[in-house]
């Protein structure tokens, strides 16, 4: 690997630009491929670029070959993200666990006494109403969304956006009864039933969790299971 390629891909990672590093296993030559454009010896190999972009979309690595060469295709997508609506107690251990698992965490809560830097150090905090906040988050296929406020005023608008988005996971805290009422409200508001069914509720795998940290484990476990079941 040339040092200038290493510098370049580190800059791309910093800028959260998705790319593929294509390495010719025999020669060691490398091509960097983006959604648009590519740099390196294979930059004009359109067939290869197409395959690389498909792997980028699927977020998977692998070896591919053409008649002459064998390549290792290494996808560098920006980190997974978790948007948490509700800067409540459960959100604190959930934020920590998600970070350890490699997620960028965004905490949304208009109640500024909840969404403080003290409670969520080194975390992106948005103290706006969820519908406004959700617009600021560019929700993609690598985003998970969890609502934790228990308050329909905050949870429902966030969920209405979430179920229509590309988010790979949408979860909502609340009992079966709470969720049944939520489903009724969301239907009345004209949400599509199939989309409403995307909501994981009650949120998390059933681990008989009790404490905030245990509930966070069950949520993180369900997000992980959903991510890898895709």
């Amino acid at each position: 690997m040339k040092k200038n390629i290493l510098s370049k891909i580190l800059d791309d990672q910093e800028a959260k630009t998705p790319f593929v590093l294509l390495t010719n296993i025999q020669s060691g030559e490398q091509t960097v491929i983006y959604h648009k454009g590519a740099v390196g010896p294979e930059a004009k190999n359109l067939e290869l670029l197409k395959i690389c972009r498909r792997y980028m979309k699927d977020n998977k690595n692998g070896i591919i070959s053409d008649p002459k060469n064998e390549f290792f295709l290494h996808v560098f997508n920006p980190p997974l993200r978790l948007a948490i609506i509700g800067a409540v107690h459960i959100a604190q251990p959930l934020t920590q666990m998600a970070k350890i698992a490699g997620y960028d965490v965004i905490v949304v809560d208009p109640r500024e006494s909840f969404a403080t830097v003290d409670r969520f150090p080194s975390t992106t905090i948005i103290t706006e109403w969820p519908d406004d906040a959700m617009e600021q988050i560019d929700i993609d296929r690598r985003t998970a969304i969890v609502t934790l406020t228990h308050d329909p005023k905050l949870d429902d608008p966030a969920l209405s956006v979430a179920i229509k988005s590309n988010a790979f996971y949408v979860g909502a805290l609340g009992s079966k009864k709470t969720h049944a009422l939520r489903v009724d409200r969301m239907k009345t508001e004209g949400n599509d039933e199939r989309q409403i069914n995307r909501i994981h509720a009650p949120v998390g795998l059933n681990l008989h969790a009790v404490s905030p940290a245990e509930i966070a484990i069950s949520i993180m476990a369900e997000i992980t299971a959903t991510l890898h079941a895709l």
Partner: protein, 115 residues
């Protein structure tokens, strides 16, 4: 932060940035990447390890079973400058010495960082 005794698993991003820091400080540096796995290998494709010419390394390509052998090979690759693919697994002779306890197999690409 990355002292020799740091045992935490760094993210891939930190591994590559550490490699650049080493290179910029005048060391020879090689990068090992898992390019293929079979069976129950512990680290997925794309997992990386950076090695400097003093044998210091960050990252991992297995659960700790083959890192020693990879570092040794990486020092050779630094001398030759040519990328090399290493095979580890039950079918490989080397595996009897540095086998994967999990029974999995991995292919590791080792390349040097050039100016």
């Amino acid at each position: 932060m990355a002292g020799n005794n740091v045992k935490v698993q760094l993210s891939d991003e930190k591994i590559l940035s550490t490699a650049l820091v080493w290179k910029n400080s005048g060391k020879s540096v090689a990068i090992a990447t898992v390019i293929k796995t079979w069976g129950s290998s512990p680290r997925p494709m794309g997992s990386q390890l950076a090695v400097s010419n003093d044998g210091t390394f960050v990252g991992s390509v297995s659960g700790g079973c083959i890192e020693g052998a990879v570092v040794t090979e990486a020092l050779e690759v630094m001398k030759s400058g040519k990328p090399k693919v290493l095979d580890f697994g039950v079918s490989n002779e080397l595996a009897w010495e540095v086998g994967l306890a999990c029974g999995g197999q991995v292919k590791v690409l080792v390349e040097v960082i050039e100016e």
